[in-house]
């Protein structure tokens, strides 16, 4: 766990720093791979920037909307640089909406856009897990396995590292194999989403749950299963409805 990187007079929050590195690497890979997905990198860059800025503004507005009375007589707090005044889920919804608007306006194929976004997501997701490792959040159950790490008073499963390494492996596969042979628009993104939800479903079993359980069942696992179901359903629908392609139905 290393929440802060101290460089002389400066204290850099390590989780945020790792996320920014992941974002930059993702943007680089996205530009590099855009052409191979027959996508104009300028459109995807613009969509990403507008989406990111909208997400940040949206996250702040959503946070304020959640507790407007807290800002009474203290309206300058709205402009605070403190990231704790952000609502991530609200920001995500607004950011995705902004990206959809840009893609629609540019008359870009949604599936092609999502395919070319995959390398970006492939780099951002391992960065997210590494940032969780840096902050010490999302820690695992106690274990006697030799690779356990000492954290929060016990030897624990390094779940964040399991997730980060698997996500990096998936990124390597994307870089080597994407776009796949005989590509159907959307197949790269759907297979990536299915793989991501699968390993999240598997490894979250080793994580100490927060309060998100229902009669002992982890709500996050249910969510990952639903994503897996939807992505596999869409993939199978895609290959069934597209003629003249090599069909590999997933069972």
């Amino acid at each position: 766990m290393f929440p802060v990187i101290n460089l002389g007079l400066f204290s850099i929050p390590a989780p945020a720093f790792i996320l920014i590195i992941g974002y930059m690497v993702g943007s680089f890979l996205l530009d590099k791979k855009a052409a191979s997905f027959s996508m104009d990198s300028e459109i995807i860059d613009r969509a990403l920037w507008i989406g990111t800025i909208s997400a940040l503004i949206g996250a702040r507005l959503s946070f304020i909307a959640g507790s407007p009375s807290a800002f009474k007589g203290n309206f300058l707090s709205v402009l605070s640089l403190n990231p704790a005044l952000l609502d991530p889920s609200g920001g995500l919804v607004i950011g995705i909406t902004a990206v959809i608007l840009v893609v629609t306006r540019k008359k870009t194929d949604y599936w092609l856009f999502l395919d070319s976004l995959t390398p970006f997501l492939g780099a951002l997701i391992p960065a997210y897990f590494l940032s969780r490792f840096a902050s010490g959040n999302g820690y695992g159950f106690a274990t006697t396995q030799p690779w356990g790490i000492y954290l929060w008073g016990a030897i624990r499963h390094p779940v964040q590292l399991y997730l980060a390494f698997t996500a990096l492996l998936l990124l390597a596969l994307i870089l080597v194999y994407a776009p796949i042979k005989n590509p159907l628009p959307g197949s790269t993104f759907l297979l990536f989403s299915a793989a991501t939800s699968s390993y999240l479903l598997f490894f979250s079993a080793f994580q100490v749950p927060g309060t998100n359980t229902l009669n002992g069942i982890r709500i996050d696992q249910i969510l990952y299963w639903v994503i897996l179901f939807v992505t596999l359903f869409l993939y199978n629908t895609l290959i069934k409805t597209t003629p003249d392609m090599v069909h590999h139905e997933i069972n």
Partner: protein, 170 residues
């Protein structure tokens, strides 16, 4: 189909036993009991976390030379005044191992702080709380469990109000 079925079986197998979420350990992390401490203040009075048992606590680590600490302290004082009657306690532990008691006294007078300001003379409490940078603030519920941590600052008054209301509602 096989993948989806395997997923459902795995969800069933990884069900969480009742009580497994409750950590009986003390650690400076959300979900754990806040590490206990006993320190003296500028008037040599002993102040400990145990003195505020059954009360939600906002625990701030600060130093007089730290600019964001200076920037956020008026908000802490204001929040203390607003929530003291509701039972919320603000404690501002000074990292005295990196500060001086003279500077601390001047700071407390300058900002008119009315909440407890214990002095961490050896730095051992900052070590227990894994304070890597100042300011760092812990939000502790009435059961003594850490529910949120904010590293860095300044924390605006609005955020303190939101956190205080959440602590008092839980």
């Amino acid at each position: 189909m096989a993948i989806l079925l395997a997923g459902l079986v795995w969800i069933w197998l990884s069900m969480v036993p009742e009580g497994s979420r409750i950590n009986s350990l003390e650690a400076a992390q959300v979900g754990f009991f806040a590490p206990s401490f006993s320190l003296t203040n500028l008037d040599d009075q002993t102040i400990g976390l145990v003195d505020f048992k059954d009360k939600p606590v906002i625990l701030n680590f600060w130093a007089s030379w730290c600019p964001p600490c200076k920037a956020e302290m008026p908000a802490f004082q204001q929040a203390s005044l607003e929530f003291i009657d509701s039972g919320l306690q603000i404690i501002a532990i000074n990292a005295t191992s990196q500060d001086s008691t003279t500077q601390v006294r001047q700071f407390v007078d300058q900002y008119g702080l009315t909440f407890p300001v214990p002095l961490d003379l050896t730095g051992s409490i900052a070590k227990d709380y894994l304070v890597h940078s100042l300011p760092t603030t812990y939000f502790i519920d009435k059961n003594g469990i850490i529910v949120d941590v904010i590293i860095g600052g300044p924390i605006p008054l609005a955020l303190l109000r939101i956190q205080a209301n959440q602590l008092l509602t839980d």
